[in-house]
């Protein structure tokens, strides 16, 4: 049987959701046998596969130009998109800056004489968007895994349901934020 092609992405978030994914312990062995992990911060494949994947899990909110480009690529080339964790689902901590001026924030954090030679390095660092967005404000999302981070058991339950060709049931305590 062909392996299910999976990608994971990491936008504006703390990597805690990826840590929680790794926290499924021995289930990782089953998972490794059943999936082909493509583009992911956990691998060295830095480019989203041209021929697409079956499932993409996205951690983090959309906060800069590169995230915006990648979230659209992911949607275009994935059969199923899973918002992994509160930042991807609600904006969470990264969205706290919404309502503040992004340029002034960059200036006050990175523009001081001690951290910069005067110019902001936009040639290598993507420009911040004016407003941080949860994924679903920009693309259709198929499943939402709540939690900061989502519990490992919830991640495992969802992925294995999909691998078994079932629709994951996300109800009651599965929907707890935070």
């Amino acid at each position: 049987m062909a392996k299910v092609r999976v990608a994971t992405m990491w936008f504006s978030g703390c990597a805690g959701c990826h840590m929680s994914l790794l926290d499924i312990d021995e289930a990782l062995i089953d998972l490794a046998a059943r999936i082909d992990l493509r583009n992911s911060p956990l691998t060295d494949l830095k480019v989203f596969p041209e021929d697409g994947v079956d499932v993409t899990l996205i951690e983090g909110a959309v906060a800069n130009e590169e995230h915006l480009r990648l979230v659209r690529t992911a949607r275009e080339k994935s059969k199923i998109i899973i918002a992994l964790g509160d930042c991807a689902v609600t904006g969470n901590v990264p969205a706290l800056r919404n309502g503040l001026d992004a340029d002034r924030m960059i200036e006050s954090i990175y523009g001081s004489p001690t951290t910069s030679n005067g110019a902001l390095p936009y040639d290598v660092v993507p420009q911040l968007l004016g407003r941080v967005s949860p994924l679903a404000e920009l693309i259709p999302v198929d499943y939402f895994l709540h939690g900061c981070p989502p519990p490992a058991g919830l991640i495992a339950k969802t992925i294995f349901a999909l691998l078994d060709g079932k629709t994951p049931e996300l109800v009651g305590p599965d929907l707890k934020f935070g």
Binding site: G99, R131, D174, K176, F177, G178
Partner: protein
């Protein structure tokens, strides 16, 4: 005593006039989710979470009285969908960031999202800017987490009798204030009783010193006080 007959979800129930749909449902073990409702305080129908369907109309169960022959539906697909949208609107208009909230794990809004099956908020988040007031020596208010349920206003006015809390402004600008919009620490009418802290369903009004997920509350205190006073 006069008795009337109503139907809730097709089940015939005999009750008496003067009671609300919510009271009759609860007395008969029928669950209707609520948020601004709190036993011991006057019901105001502020949050709309307890909506039920009565002959195609959507009414708040906490403020609508039962009438003879009334047919009430509490859990149809349409009611559930409207209720979920209402909870989504509550989330969208504030900054309810559970991950670093002192009430994480003990929050009625967080529980409500689970109960109504909220997968995501389909309304664009407003991300408003609000003022945190930490001027009171023991308590603070984080208006980012306020759902404008008015429990603090009612507990302070009806139970404590201080009337420190009130609403100011209109529409999306509404917020709760202390006295005539002075900092809480300077509010002369505040007795420091802490009832507003206990009844607040979220992490908006809290005790100082509580860290992430450490805030426990006891909203039932209001019903206990009201009950004891009714015997006075």
């Amino acid at each position: 005593m006069e008795s009337i007959a109503v139907k809730i979800n097709g089940r015939g129930i005999t009750t008496c006039p003067g009671r609300t749909i919510l009271e009759v449902a609860e007395a008969n073990g029928i669950r209707i989710p609520t948020l601004c409702h709190l036993k011991g305080l006057t019901d105001v129908g502020a949050c709309r979470v307890c909506i039920v369907e009565v002959r195609g109309q959507f009414l708040t169960a906490c403020t609508t009285g039962v009438a003879d022959g009334m047919e009430i539906l509490t859990d149809t697909e349409v009611v559930r969908a409207h209720r979920r949208t209402i909870v989504e609107m509550l989330f969208a208009e504030g900054n309810h960031v559970c991950s670093f909230c002192v009430s994480n794990g003990g929050c009625e809004l967080q529980d409500l999202a689970c109960e109504v099956g909220m997968q995501s908020v389909r309304i664009p988040y407003a991300y408003p800017r609000h003022r945190v007031d930490a001027s009171h020596p023991r308590f603070l208010i984080d208006r980012d987490r306020c759902v404008l349920c008015g429990r603090c206003v009612r507990a302070c006015g009806e139970i404590e009798g201080a009337r420190t809390w009130d609403f100011a402004e209109r529409g999306s600008g509404v917020r709760v204030i202390t006295d005539l919009d002075v900092n809480w620490g300077q509010a002369e009418t505040c007795t420091g009783c802490g009832k507003c802290v206990e009844v607040c369903p979220t992490g908006a009004i809290v005790r100082k010193g509580a860290s992430n997920a450490e805030m426990g509350k006891n909203p039932e205190v209001v019903a206990q006080l009201a009950e004891r006073r009714s015997h006075g």
